[in-house]
Symmetry: D3
Subunit: 173 residues, 6 copies
């Protein structure tokens, strides 16, 4: 059985890793869709799809997880076409894990088996909170896998990027 | 004389029907543009263009109205191209009915005759209020033509869809 | 039972009309998709989607045919998303009539019932041949319904348009 | 040395003119990108790219400024592709003037020299405030070059346009 | 009176320059649309819109021509929307010069005055032939203004680009 | 060192596998871009990006190859934006392997190290020839890795798809 999950992974954190481990207990393979792949360089979406791909891939390998496929998925501007868009970009699958009402409904209408995700420690494992910590200079090292921390701080100049973007200029030129 | 109106029709309600009847008193035909055709499966735009087409077509037939053309119209991301976009998708027309300031201005700049719509009972005939009633489980049956009520409840699983979409999950996966 | 057919209808000719009559013998309603809706003003696609809509609608009414829905459908640049695109724009249907191998395959993969179209007199009822006759000044009046002939010659300046487009200029300016 | 600046210029005001004069003290040529070129006919973006082109071009000529290139630039929906998009539409340049954090970061990541703009009298030279004055019927003549005032009031019907757009109609038809 | 012409200008050659001089005898200003602005790096369209902009602008200045506006114009995939697209990007104009049948027809249907271009020496002033000469290493220096020759050979590495693109590899990887 | 290659992989054959093995002798990781990701269900591009992803991933795992990233890459309609598009979707890389003149030129202009691919047995390892064999019912089993053969014949109904698409119908409906 192959399962599908989708997230924005801005950034990929320990909660994401736990979810993937949980899914792989009941499924042979997991397809990890990187959602809103076209977005980056904003406060909500600081990292490119390729940067997020690197975070996920290196973390799973470091955790000795194999049976995964990572697929960047750009948004389409028509909800009823979205499932067909995902299907065209991924290996075949029949089970979807999500807590997002729209994702849930769209796959349900296309006859997929949809399961809810286990509730995890939302407080500390939240992309929103991690990005806030990055901007404010607080410690976020423990919220993400070590591989992700290294990629963002060493390889991507990620902290400088998100802090510079946090400066505002209401009316440019 | 052929007239043009556009609306999102989320859903098509009794106010819409009254407007079309009024327009057909002064015009031979009416072109009904289904606006924002690409949107669906959101709280503001729950129904697809095709579902809205079905609501309108069946209601007009049930009311013995004939001289109409229904045309789904997707948004374009350039206002000065929008009138040409509409023209390319519809039979020719020369008169436009609208209360929307942007629609009014765009057709005015292209030399169309633009007329305001008669003021109707806005309180009870409002798409926004009908969608709120659907979500809260209140009675909305009297706000729409019987044909529309039957399509949404029997044919489309429409109430389940809008209620599920109303669940929120801030930070999916 | 509602059936779906799609064509470019450049222009709508007597063969198209025969096909629709045949389909309505076995089905309650027919959805007529106007394919490649975004194309016009070329030798292969001279008429806009709206002009084709007018041809079809007026002809069916003149033939006392009622149970139809006409829907302009723009191309999408991804074949596996095309069926979902059609579904989002049309009332629900479950049976498709087509002789086009791609259309046939795409609907088959989405579990639709797909039927072949009856073979008609292809020689005289061919959009390609009718457009050639228009350009060369030959008689094409008998190839199309009278309503279509009147629309193209009186209402659209259609013959001048296709003849002017047939002039070539290899290297403009 | 050729410099690049980008703005929405809704409308082009005296602050913009001062900035261009300042830049040309240190650079041989300036490329003026008209940003969000696809937007117009909204309260925030009332004028088309072509109308803004006319304002800028005529003003610079009236001020005897020559060494400029004006280029309308539509938005792209992917930030990391935006610099390549600009590069494809403009003559080559190597220095960028901006106070916008995103523009600054995107050009920085592509190895451009990025300079901040001199701080000008932001209070009176603000596009937002000028558009508010237009809507409210206040005097905005002194905020823009005379050429711009003449274009908006004589040539474009610009004041009527922005005032009509300021009317609201929550739920059209 | 402001006139409009459009070309691909791959590259801008002496024939183009003659046409612009001729047009400016009868018109106060000329808007020069750079067509197919999104295309570059192919054998038919080797130069970017920005590179073509530079060729045209520098040549006109070198010839002491002033009253021009240069506007890159990307293609749209709908012919009936193309005129509105051009209008949104350019200063207002009312007269069009073209020999292209499609451009002629589209502006004619939107009520513009359309004039044919004077017939020039097509044999030697042809973009197609100049690009062939570039690829084959023949002499093309006399076919273009000196400014254009210098830009392509000194500033753009243009000859290397078109020659490398002329190598073929049917089945990459 | 991370290397990048791109292909359409319609289908992934033994030549592709040899190339990847060769590249991994000189590089730590290889990013495999699936080009023209949006195309499928045509004679030239029968398989979806997701189906091609599955072929590549399963084959590399079966060959005990690990250090790879697979990324579907849709075409963009602007060559000078293509490299930035690739960069946004992939982990960072600095070396490109290709024999395609356009890919070579585009990466060269963005300062990448570009290497040619080793010449392999083009006659038998050609996507074009394999697709022809599929259509004609000839034996193509030895041209592809066993994993690919099994996916196409067992998991995808791939042979039926390409044969049905090979039927032609010039003028649908």
């Amino acid at each position: 059985m192959t399962a599908f999950i989708i997230g924005r992974f801005q950034p990929f954190h320990k909660g994401h890793l736990e979810i993937i481990k949980t899914i792989l207990k009941d499924n042979d393979h997991v397809i990890i869709g990187i959602g809103s792949a076209q977005f980056s360089h904003t406060l909500t979406n600081p990292f490119t799809a390729g940067e997020r791909y690197l975070m996920i891939s290196n973390t799973l390998e470091a955790n000795n997880i194999k049976n995964f496929y990572i697929v960047p998925i750009e948004d389409v501007n028509s909800n009823p076409m979205w499932v067909a868009h995902v299907e065209s970009l991924t290996p075949p699958f029949s089970r979807v894990y999500t807590n997002n009402p729209l994702v849930k409904r769209l796959f349900y209408e296309k006859k997929y088996e949809v399961r809810s995700l286990p509730l995890l420690n939302r407080k500390s494992w939240s992309g929103t909170r991690i990005r806030e910590k990055m901007i404010k200079g607080l410690d976020w090292k423990d919220d993400v896998p070590e591989t992700v921390y290294n990629i963002i701080t060493n390889c991507l100049d990620g902290i400088n990027r998100i802090r510079e973007l946090a400066n505002t200029d209401e009316d440019p030129i």
